[in-house]
Symmetry: C2
Subunit: 478 residues, 2 copies
């Protein structure tokens, strides 16, 4: 039979029986378990690691929320569900999931209140000058490309990065609080349990699961629904080779050990459809501090390819997916400052020509690029890639330098965005768009609202939001 | 239950029973049926259309074969399985299927002999000057990027496009002969039968299929194996939206009505894995006649992005997937000639600056690109993209023109290359890499050797070759 699926008739006796089974205790799993158990369903969470947290606990802890949350208001920012919707529709690839984005934006204010109600603290102060996690304990940050071309002309920009109060890397705090909330809920949690198969009736419905713990196999009968929240597949080289081989070149794979696509594969074995399996978030945080946005990012042909002031996730996606992960940020002596992250000064030169030779670029290529850039920059504009005037100035003061932005010398942080195809209730769909009875998914085991282009906080945001939807829907059952 | 799968216990009585069922009668289906029936298996072919042929009959009929075929030898070309292997490994994306490419190259000489033995005529003459289908009835053509950077330095170039003898569009002839061979074989063919479900035992093995014909449902019990050869999904907008939305922008979708991914979806419903679902062949035949390779292809920023002398499939893939399908081929009065395919002269100008304004490109962008190109071209070289010297000359003779190469004004011909994951025997694999007993696939319903970058003839080539492998393996059964 298909690995990953068992025939109920094989199971002599069930070791356990619950209403709702949640597989994986990251942000999405916690949200699903909280909603299911509070609705009165006997809920069991199986986590393969020794404790909860998953990849969410290794993240920056930013949640992308908006539409006028209490935090946005407290910091004096105006936002609306409609402006948030317009931004996400424009920035989420060519085929955004309009229904999910609409629901997410309309319920974002309520979702923020729910997150706060789980005991997660947010300081009502705004930090300007970074994209994503701030170096302070401020609660609100910019975390996308709202202020950059082309989005600034599509929707009114507003900061939507909501950050739990703690200095830097707040993911652990977020998950500590969410796991504490799960512990305080009626849901049962069993760690060191790895789900190895779904139990599927001949009619296709999911009625249980089989887990392994320290070599012991354990079967769980599920009366209502199984919610898969096992994360993405950035750690699975075979799956990356089949769907997005370039992502394997990234130095940092943002993932806990569990992100090997196990839950996605369980769903596929049960007949589930998958979508956007080639999508990934690729961060290239080379323009932090923001002053470095005044640099010129070039590829191996010495050509610019993007407005350097956009969100660093877009820089990474363009550089990796469209230019083979070979790029440099060219600066002059006036704008150079030390990047926040490890960096290598790949080349230095007294003239653009000398820098070009040091970089090993085709003769005249970088000289031509800088000449054109400087010609327009002298008038404070960038008609080629539309960088905002505040970051446009001629690069003329020697020495010139090239900060390495290639996969072999820069930090590229990657995780996958494709996965099981789900509806608004987190129901897993088959290739005809029909729900597989009793099977639900959320978080990066599913493909969420973020594909095509990323903004910090979208995965924790849609993972917790649609994790809650899946938890509630699972209670309603098959 | 998952749409597309039936429980055998639902089937009261079988309407038909065979050893091997082939779903779809294109090139891959014909090859599978011929091998299975000749091996003595009771073989039935179900074709949803009124007759055989499928997309193969709408193709150029080119088969990518080599390694020293009788035709290559007759035309005086030396080739080897090893050189062919090196080219395909280098040109088939970042994660080529080494085992399949190895087998395909090693058996290519034998496979050509098999194709000839099916009654398909090839004239032992070579045509130089096109990529793919020749305007003559010559039998051998160049059909890939063997002569262009970077492949010319990786493997010794040889023409490998094998074209049935007929003037232009030889796909119909190819399929007429293959279908005639099937008719003359012991295999039964039933047209106007659309396969709507696979019959799957609770243990996962495939034991039959359900088809519809003029509203009547018909169940076929299959003793050994079902071979899915239903083609790709370029006509399914929902699947394109989920896997490769840019392909939907192409003016020409190379497909018969059946290419809606139906067979791929049947496999997914049965628990099959899919790979490279974002891969597609995108032809932009703008450099025919080859003299136009002397032009300069630029994007919406007025930048070059590829060596213009490479295979037009590579031009299309780069232009569409990396530059949004917005491009122009810039020529001067000396090299301009009428392209073989419909074309639009998007702009004309007495100077590069005037042409640039006419094209609506950023001020100075095209001027800078042409200045750099001409500076090197004056010495007959192209250090930026490595176009071959024979196609490199300065563009200096006014008037200058821009041939439209954008999706809205040029011919982009597209078909999908991703599909069901199969092994060397065409066995369909689940996400753990285990075969689904009794299920096989070939042709574009499966992902073959061509992903990442295409060469004319690879789909008819691997479709017929691995179709034969699947037909033989199906006879061996579950």
């Amino acid at each position: 039979m298909a690995s990953g699926v068992r025939d109920p008739r094989e199971i002599r006796s069930w070791d356990d029986e619950v209403d709702v089974l949640v597989v994986g205790l990251g942000a999405a799993g916690a949200a699903a378990a909280l909603e299911a158990s509070r609705a009165g369903a006997a809920t069991l969470v199986l986590e393969r690691a020794g404790g909860g947290g998953g990849t969410s606990a290794m993240s920056g802890g930013v949640l992308y929320l908006g539409g006028g949350t209490a935090l946005q208001k407290a910091c004096g920012f105006e936002d609306s569900a409609e402006e948030m919707f317009k931004y996400l529709m424009a920035s989420s690839g060519l085929t955004p999931d309009e229904a999910k984005i609409r629901r997410y934006c309309e319920d974002s204010v309520e979702h923020y209140a729910w997150v706060v109600a789980q005991g997660i603290p947010f300081k009502s102060t705004f930090y300007h000058g970074c994209s994503g996690e701030p170096p302070t304990d401020d609660g609100l940050v910019w975390s996308g490309a709202e202020n950059a071309h082309p989005f600034r002309d599509v929707a009114r920009p507003a900061p939507r990065g909501h950050v739990p109060q703690m200095t830097f890397q707040t993911g652990p705090l977020l998950m500590q609080k969410l796991c504490a909330a799960v512990d305080a809920s009626p849901a049962r949690v069993e760690t060191n349990h790895r789900c190895v198969a779904l139990v599927q009736e001949p009619d296709g419905s999911i009625v249980g699961a089989v887990a392994e713990s320290f070599g012991r196999t354990r079967s769980v009968r599920v009366r209502r629904g199984v919610v898969i929240t096992t994360g993405g597949f950035i750690l699975n080289d075979e799956m990356l080779a089949a769907h997005q081989p370039l992502a394997a070149r990234c130095r940092l794979r943002v993932a806990a050990d569990g992100d090997d696509g196990s839950g996605i594969r369980l769903g596929i074995a049960a007949g589930a459809d998958t979508i956007h399996m080639d999508a990934a978030s690729i961060s290239l945080p080379v323009t932090q501090p923001w002053g470095l946005k005044r640099g010129v990012l070039v590829n191996a042909q010495g050509q610019r390819f993007i407005n350097e002031d956009t969100y660093y996730g877009r820089l990474g996606e363009r550089a990796l997916f469209h230019h083979g992960g070979r790029a440099w940020l060219v600066v002059d002596d006036e704008i150079f400052e030390k990047p926040d992250y490890d960096f290598a000064l790949a080349a230095v030169g007294e003239t653009p020509g000398e820098l070009e030779r040091e970089m090993g670029l085709p003769p005249g290529s970088l000289e031509a690029t800088l000449a054109l850039y400087n010609r327009h920059a002298a008038r404070g504009c960038d008609p080629v890639f539309h960088k905002q005037p505040e970051y446009v100035k001629p690069l003329v003061k020697p020495p010139f330098g090239a900060i390495g932005c290639s996969t072999d010398d820069a930090l590229y942080a990657a995780f996958t965005l494709g996965g099981l195809r789900t509806d608004l209730d987190g129901r897993v769909l088959d290739p005809e768009g029909q729900p597989i009875a009793g099977l639900f998914a959320a978080g990066r085991a599913s493909s969420g609202i973020a594909v095509g282009s990323y903004s910090s906080g979208l995965s924790l945001g849609d993972g917790t939001f649609f994790g809650r939807c899946a938890g509630r829907a699972a209670v309603r059952g098959r």
